[in-house]
Symmetry: C2
Subunit: 261 residues, 2 copies
Amino acid sequence: MNALRFAVAAALGLLVTSARAEIVTRTVEYKQGDTVLEGFLAYDTAGPAKKPGVLVVHDWKGIGPNTKRRVEMLAKMGYVAFAPDIYGKGVRPVDGKEAGATAGPYFKNRALVRERVLAGFQDLARQPNVDPKRIAAIGYCFGGMVALELGRSGADVAGVVSFHGILDNPTPADAKKIKGKTLVLHGADDPYVPDAQVKAFADEMRAAGVDWQLVAYSGAVHAFTIVEAGNDNSKGSAYNATADRRSWKAMEDFFAEVLAN
Amino acid sequence: MNALRFAVAAALGLLVTSARAEIVTRTVEYKQGDTVLEGFLAYDTAGPAKKPGVLVVHDWKGIGPNTKRRVEMLAKMGYVAFAPDIYGKGVRPVDGKEAGATAGPYFKNRALVRERVLAGFQDLARQPNVDPKRIAAIGYCFGGMVALELGRSGADVAGVVSFHGILDNPTPADAKKIKGKTLVLHGADDPYVPDAQVKAFADEMRAAGVDWQLVAYSGAVHAFTIVEAGNDNSKGSAYNATADRRSWKAMEDFFAEVLAN
């Protein structure tokens, strides 16, 4: 974030200090082309001067409670965490219908998805307290797809983690551009990511020689890490505390490998 | 192990103390029906009086260097680790041809597999320093199949871990008997466990409502944790240091969940 952006954020009263005084969170305005985007940043003022960075890509509803919670959890773990805004400032769907209508065009325009997430990646890499060689990206549902597209863009990202992300890829040959490691955390009963889509993803990764891992969690449907999704598996999206805990641990182990100094 | 068996083992000079003086290893003679079996036990003399137990089921060559190494690693981690002998005392195939001929009949006779592994499970549960309510089983290749069969037998095992195990099951309905949790650590390029077998396994677990997880590791073929398998993936079996390290960590995380006090 440059000085002007910081001044704007400060003027807007967006500098917030949590109960643990050393964790700073703030919204960050930045641009992709002419589109104004509003991301969410958090970090610990203590610790090393240069920390690893983690991009946290929102689900189809845009940056909301789940995204912010994850950003803050990662900041407490010592990462500079940043939720990039894929949709644009103020574009925050209020329900599933709006979210579907907003996300839909992005699924069909992966080039735009890559530009939007790259803008966030570059903003995070520019942060003065970030080691730009140690940046990973995670994403939820829609954001899992976005995080995978960041890898496929050829960005210099150390690792990508998809939580119940959509795995389809209109341009499988782009998997050859992936530079970092890929971890897919998948609900074994996710109706939006059926076995055939998982198989196609595995074949894509194999053909490209990517370092990838896929974990399937039993009893977990779409959105299994999102408390706000409720607990009715029959709806196709539901929170699952066991899969949430296990998948977060898998991410921690992955970060210990790909973000180590 | 009862007092007589201990005395026999001691008389045979099989009580060995490793460089870390507190780790004890010894062979253990026991029986299934009229068949004499010779397992391998290790534990730390320090630590709590009752420890969790881990059964370590050998690959198709029987109890050998890999099995003993894993038993000792687990003992150092605080478990009472025991390699049950599925084949019988002295039945130790020297090459792949002998191993295939020895293992083959067991793949076709799962009832015998269950009796053999249950005998080892019961022997471990009887050890005076084992908490019989906290026993898990792991297994390698052939032994992965055996560990899964222990679960399907309805044994009171807290968790089962298959390392590059064969996943097929002639009696999928038996998955309903599984009491503990199941973790499958799978080489994504394993020619002996193709995607269709993985899919059938997932469907078996889903139908039975088992708590299961499956991790697929890229670039890993059969036997990916076994150093003795060499490093030529084109042979279908080969060691993979990355997948070995990752899968061991996944097992540690799983044990932290299922074997906690």
